[in-house]
């Protein structure tokens, strides 16, 4: 019924998680269900999920399996019909498929707005903006407007903006789906590096099997109608891996086979 987000604007460093035990999960989802309207179709059913701090989790599924809805519920943008979602650190940062940068602000000002809404004093903002943009290798583009940037650069500004929120949990809704393969490949590397540097918990929604196999420590496969978690893979973290590597290929084949099986079930 309720999305438990204690202290929504709490400072990210509040040691809620660290203070209790060393084993408080970053996100806990229990018995979650969602339907749109009283008589609408069941979109999500019986989702139980625990995500540990610092994990990189990929939510994978065909269109319409409710993976974006699940992300929206974790983000607090939508309410679940049944069950509870607890984000231990408070609220989460979110990044969407479209960069959704404010077109009237420069790249730097877009990032700065996130700092401003977080309550960072004006004097500290400028330096932090440059640090954040430098993290995504765009310090030179601070004065550019979104329309002057390429799609990949816009997504990196959006990533910097999401990092500016300084939440422990970062939710990403198919953030690279609209990019070309070369740019996407680079952004995978960028994101992985930032994940390792900042230790954030990332929930990454995608319909791209290879992307999930490339990025995730855990890959959750969802089945459709109603959306449920069908299977889960844990991948040993042996450092950065490339999307062309044999282990990613092997895993992709395995996941794709099961994904196809799930899709076949929907044939009448």
């Amino acid at each position: 019924m309720n999305t438990t987000t204690d202290a929504p604007i709490a400072a990210p460093a509040t040691p809620v998680a660290a203070g209790t035990t060393s084993h408080a999960p970053a996100i806990r989802i229990e018995g979650l269900g969602k339907r749109f309207g009283a008589a609408g179709p069941v979109v999500l059913e019986d989702i139980d999920l625990t995500i540990e701090p610092g994990e990189f989790v990929c939510l994978l599924g065909a269109s319409g399996c409710g993976k974006s809805t699940l992300l929206g519920i974790i983000a607090g943008l939508e309410l679940p019909t049944t069950g509870t979602v607890t984000v231990t650190s408070g609220s989460a940062a979110v990044m969407f498929q479209e960069s959704a940068l404010f077109p009237w602000l420069t790249a730097g000002r877009n990032v700065e707005l996130a700092l401003k809404l977080r309550g960072v004093p004006r004097a500290d903002r400028r330096a932090q903006v440059l640090d954040l943009l430098d993290l995504v290798n765009l310090a030179d583009a601070a004065d550019k407007r979104p329309h002057e940037l390429s799609g990949g650069m816009r997504q990196r500004v959006a990533l910097a903006r999401a990092l500016a929120q300084d939440r422990k949990v970062l939710l990403m809704d198919e953030p690279f789906a609209a990019l070309d393969a070369i740019t996407r490949d680079l952004l995978h590397e960028e994101l992985e590096r930032i994940w390792r540097e900042t230790g954030r918990t990332i929930v990454f929604v995608t319909h791209n099997v290879r992307e999930a196999a490339r990025l995730g420590q855990r890959v959750l496969l969802m089945k459709s109608r109603p959306g449920r978690i069908a299977n889960e893979w844990r991948i040993d973290d042996t450092g950065p891996r490339r999307i062309e590597s044999p282990e990613v290929s092997r895993l992709s084949v395995e996941i794709t086979d099961q994904l196809r099986e799930e899709i076949r079930r929907n044939a009448s």
């Binding site: 969407f96 809404l117 650069m153 903006r161 070369i182 960028e190």
Partner: protein, 313 residues
């Protein structure tokens, strides 16, 4: 499957032995790679100089105007029509000069612009909060929206007789008519500007932790600005038109001498060159206000958002 990436890159840069790459960390390599892709994907802007831009904007209409006047003068010289019915450009120019010399033209232009400007500003002051209320308060919008759209269609000159009966021949009559013309356009412009704010931007604002008032001032209003501006432009057009209509119909009393009054006075004297001269001046003031006040603001606003008006070649 692809072969080992290191061997492919070595094969591809087999001539690289002569140009050794600078030693750098993998992270620097990555940054260079990313910067290279960024450079490939962004097109450097082909900005034309301000002089060239002004020339491109000014030359075509000026040339057309000169051509039209020449054709008109040519017709009067060749066909020699009755000058009181078909005056030539020179007669019209003379009429303008005459009114300039005795100061009536300056007085009329000043009166009309002052009144039009004041009326427009009052309309902005009323229309803006009204538009905000309509956009945010659904019930009010359902009730008042259709009426406001109807008022936008109703020619505001229709209010002149009623206004004269209510307010007599005073400035209040003129302002009333101007407001009835301009307020609906401005309010509707703001409403449609707010309606067209992409829902994604609101979601981002919410995700970033904006309060209701922060969402309105930092996200929704800036996003609605282009729609609001086009509402303002239309509002000015309605102000100016309504003003002229009011000045033509309502003359005398404490109403000053505006361009509309000058037009009506010339008609009573059956002075066609003066009538045409006044029409041209009314037209010129309208164009000038658009060019000086609205066009630069709109161009800047749209360019900053990457929406270049008329940029497609």
């Amino acid at each position: 499957m692809l072969p080992d990436p290191s061997t492919t890159s070595a094969a591809a840069t087999s001539t690289g032995a002569t140009t050794p790459a600078p030693a750098s960390s993998p992270h620097d390599e990555f940054r260079r790679l990313e910067s290279g892709l960024d450079a490939l994907q962004t097109v450097p802007p082909t900005e034309r100089g301000p002089f060239r831009r002004a020339l491109d904007g000014v030359l075509p209409p000026v040339l057309l105007l000169v051509a039209l006047v020449c054709a008109w003068q040519f017709y009067t010289v060749v066909a020699e029509p009755r000058p009181d019915l078909y005056p030539g450009p020179l007669n019209v120019a003379a009429a303008i000069g005459e009114r300039w010399a005795d100061g009536r033209l300056q007085q009329a232009v000043a009166t009309s612009i002052a009144r039009g400007g004041a009326g427009f500003l009052i309309a902005v002051a009323i229309g803006t909060p009204l538009g905000l209320l309509l956009a945010e308060w659904r019930l009010l919008r359902r009730a008042l929206g259709p009426l406001l759209s109807g008022l936008q269609v109703l020619p505001s000159v229709a209010w002149v007789p009623a206004a004269i009966i209510w307010f007599g021949l005073t400035d209040a009559t003129v302002y009333f008519v101007v407001l009835m013309g301009a307020v609906p356009s401005i309010a509707n412009g703001l409403v449609s500007g707010i309606d067209h704010v992409p829902p994604q931007l609101r979601r981002v604002g919410t995700v970033l932790g904006a309060s209701r008032s922060q969402l309105a001032t930092l996200v929704i209003l800036p996003a609605a600005l282009p729609g609001y501006l086009s509402g303002l432009k239309q509002g000015w057009a309605f102000s100016w038109r309504s003003l002229m209509a009011a000045e033509i119909i309502a003359m005398g009393g404490s109403i000053g001498f505006g361009l509309g009054s000058m037009l009506q006075q010339s008609r009573e004297l059956a002075d066609l060159p003066a009538v045409l001269a006044t029409i041209l001046i009314i037209l010129a003031v309208g164009i000038l206000v658009e060019l000086v006040a609205f066009a630069p603001v709109e161009r800047r606003l749209l360019r900053r958002r990457g929406l270049n008006p008329g940029a497609h070649r």
